[in-house]
Amino acid sequence: MRIALFATCLADTLFPEAAKATVRLLERLGHEVVFPLEQTCCGQMHVNTGYQREALPLVRRYVSVFGGFDVIVAPSGSCVGSIRHQHETVAARAGERGLAERARDVGSRTYELSELLVDVLGVEDVGAYYPHRVTYHPTCHSLRTTRVGDKPLRLLRRVRGLQLVDLPAAEQCCGFGGTFALKNAETSTAMLADKISGILSTGARVCTAGDVSCLMHIGGGLSRRGADVRTVHLAEILAATEAP
């Protein structure tokens, strides 16, 4: 299958490994990955901070860059949630009805990585090997906006060598929330502290999730605590095949 990759601005700039892993994984499964260079950002930060007018060109850009593809994937439950649920609203609010319709259409063809694998490509065993003790944090937007459900867990359970350990209070927010972490830094830090205690209590060496944004937050907190736990995007685990 020919699959267009939306890398997301954050993965492109700060966490290229997540996007590279997505490419490697899909190519290993026999698919062709296309990366349109005109892409930049889905505009979620603007929308969620209250700048819908500023987000409008980014919605238009997303629709025009990806409108020609049947299947689009992003290694981010959060950006996919925004594309599916906010793009149409932003366009409609600006009175651009045609754009709103196209945004909804492109949104319906945009998948989060675990959805693409399980629902579209029909695979749960991606042939990965990752011999580590891992805990999974279901990020809020993957869980409650994009509704990926237990698909990431189903994929992780089929990874050879991987020991999956349950995260206590897994479904509680890590406190990131985009600009929330800046505007309400203290509250965000208090939420993060509890998330980190949960992660440390599992004894896992790796914390994974489907969003680099939350992983950046959790990883920043773990690093500040001097904890010996790494944050790794789900795509990197699924792409891993190294021998022991």
Binding site: T13, L14, Y51, R144, G178, A185
Partner: protein, 482 residues
């Protein structure tokens, strides 16, 4: 609605409790430093959450019930003026008197005047968010009338000279030794050797309240629901103190937000299932009191219904925002909110705390007066999933943020970012420049504002050698050459 002049007015300043005097981050700062408060809150919300989750799981049709509740509320909002007129007609036919209050000032004046005319200088009160919203107790006190709260938790808050911090459990921030101290200090006629044993505390409150019930002739209540087709008012509660207020006095004055009307008696069956399971985690609330006008020789002989607007018409006028009026004040959204759990209710500066408060307060006052509240959320969405009438609180927050006044520097930054992100080549150059800037600087432990909030508690990730975009381009070139 009869006073509607085409310009929806927001709740007035200087009266009632919808505006805090600090922003959310400022007010949260104190709460976050209070370890006792955080323990109290975590324990209480976790207890209610698990009880509620258990009884909700018993109902196979919970999602259909939520959908029904949501649809009923949408219908009510679509024809609110007619339903209110119908309610007014039925209440009047049944011997009640209906008053319309455009805002807090009017509502307080109406109630104060009604109490004065009875000659009583004391009223007993059933727990009511609406009267807190308008600051009725303060208005009554200013008029020389003593309001006595009869809900146990409200009483604790009143005697402690405190403010409620939860919709349903107003004293959630207090533990029992604090409550004992409050009773000892402020409850008239209390045993000075009171212990902090819960039954002992409850008995002390009961004794005090019984005396008050039997000697007070006027009661002020709120209402959970009002049935338009019959003119029936309903109050649901757990303690039974409300029922005493509703039945013993001669005069009953009910203050009700005008969104609380439902079309028919049959609609109650949906809400009376949704509300207790979501709020207290009970299958059914212990006391449901309903009354229709007056009945000669039985119960209050004078009944007044004050229909309160106080900004609600303004909320109704916003087709997106109006779903906040669907709220049945169950407090489920508070109990699942990770922000509320850590900051407590006082941080929201309004009688409506938690996720629903973060949207409703700014809607009632105008967003500019409560501009920090729509940002008091990480948009995690737990509130939306918990809400028994499916209010999409995260989308409402985003909607209000779009209307909030923005700091100048932030606006400039957002505009610049959007400009760049709409120009892929310049964007790619900026990505590389950002990397150079970081290599030149120290390893991210102290960024300038507004980014300093990040480095206060977290490290920055190390920058990658290469952006994904550059990796991809290089790979494509290599493939071409090969």
């Amino acid at each position: 609605m009869t006073t509607f002049l085409g310009m929806p007015a927001t709740a007035p300043r200087g009266v009632g409790q919808l505006r805090g005097d600090r922003t959310f981050p400022q007010a949260a700062h104190a709460a976050l430093g209070d370890a006792q408060l955080r323990r109290n809150l975590r324990h209480a919300t976790a207890t209610i959450r698990s009880r509620s989750g258990r009884v909700i799981a018993e109902l196979p049709d919970w999602q259909q019930l939520r959908a029904a509740g949501s649809a009923l509320k949408a219908d009510v909002m679509a024809r609110l003026p007619q339903l209110l007129q119908q309610l007014e007609a039925r209440v009047s036919e049944a011997g009640g008197v209906v008053h319309w209050a455009a805002d807090a000032h009017e509502a307080n004046a109406i109630v104060t005047d009604l109490v004065r005319r009875t000659g009583s200088d004391r009223v007993i009160k059933v727990k009511s968010m609406a009267t807190q919203e308008i600051g009725l107790n303060e208005a009554l006190e200013a008029a020389g009338i003593t309001p006595v709260e009869t809900d146990l938790a409200e009483l604790i808050v009143q005697l402690g000279d405190d403010r409620p911090s939860h919709i349903l459990v107003p004293a959630i921030h207090r533990n029992r030794s604090e409550i004992r101290d409050i009773f000892r200090r402020s409850m008239p006629g209390v045993d000075p050797d009171l212990t902090d044993d819960p039954p002992v505390l409850a008995a002390a409150a009961r004794k005090y309240l019984r005396e008050t019930f039997l000697s007070t002739t006027v009661a002020v209540s709120g209402a959970n629901f009002a049935v338009a087709e019959t003119g029936t008012l309903a109050v649901v509660e757990s303690e039974g103190n409300g029922r005493m207020c509703l039945t013993l006095p001669d005069t009953l004055i009910t203050v009700m937000g005008l969104e609380k009307v439902v079309p028919t008696w049959a609609d109650l069956e949906v809400f009376l299932q949704l509300l207790p399971r979501s709020s207290t985690g009970e299958r059914m609330n212990p006391y449901t009191s309903m009354w229709t006008g007056v009945t000669p020789g039985d119960g209050p002989q004078n009944f007044h219904l004050v229909l309160l607007d106080n900004g609600r018409s303004a909320v109704l006028a916003d087709p997106v925002g109006r779903q906040a009026l669907h709220c049945i004040r169950c407090s489920a959204c508070l109990n699942v909110c990770p922000v509320y759990e850590r900051t407590g209710g006082h941080a929201y500066g309004s009688v409506y705390p938690g996720p629903i408060g973060a949207v409703l307060s700014p809607q009632l006052t105008g967003v500019a007066d409560n501009a920090s509240l729509p940002y008091a959320s990480s948009l995690c969405g737990a509130c939306f999933d918990a809400c028994p009438v499916k209010i999409d609180i995260p989308s409402l927050l985003v909607h209000l943020r779009n209307r909030a006044p923005h700091p100048r520097a932030e606006r400039a930054m957002m505009r610049a970012a959007a400009y760049l992100m709409d120009r892929p080549r310049a964007y790619a150059r900026a990505q590389r420049a950002a990397k150079l800037a970081r290599i030149a600087g120290r390893r991210g432990r102290g960024l300038p504002p507004p980014l300093s909030g990040w480095t206060a508690g977290r490290d920055l990730p190390p920058l990658p050698e290469q952006t994904f975009r550059d990796w991809w381009a290089r790979r494509a070139r290599a493939a071409e050459e090969a």
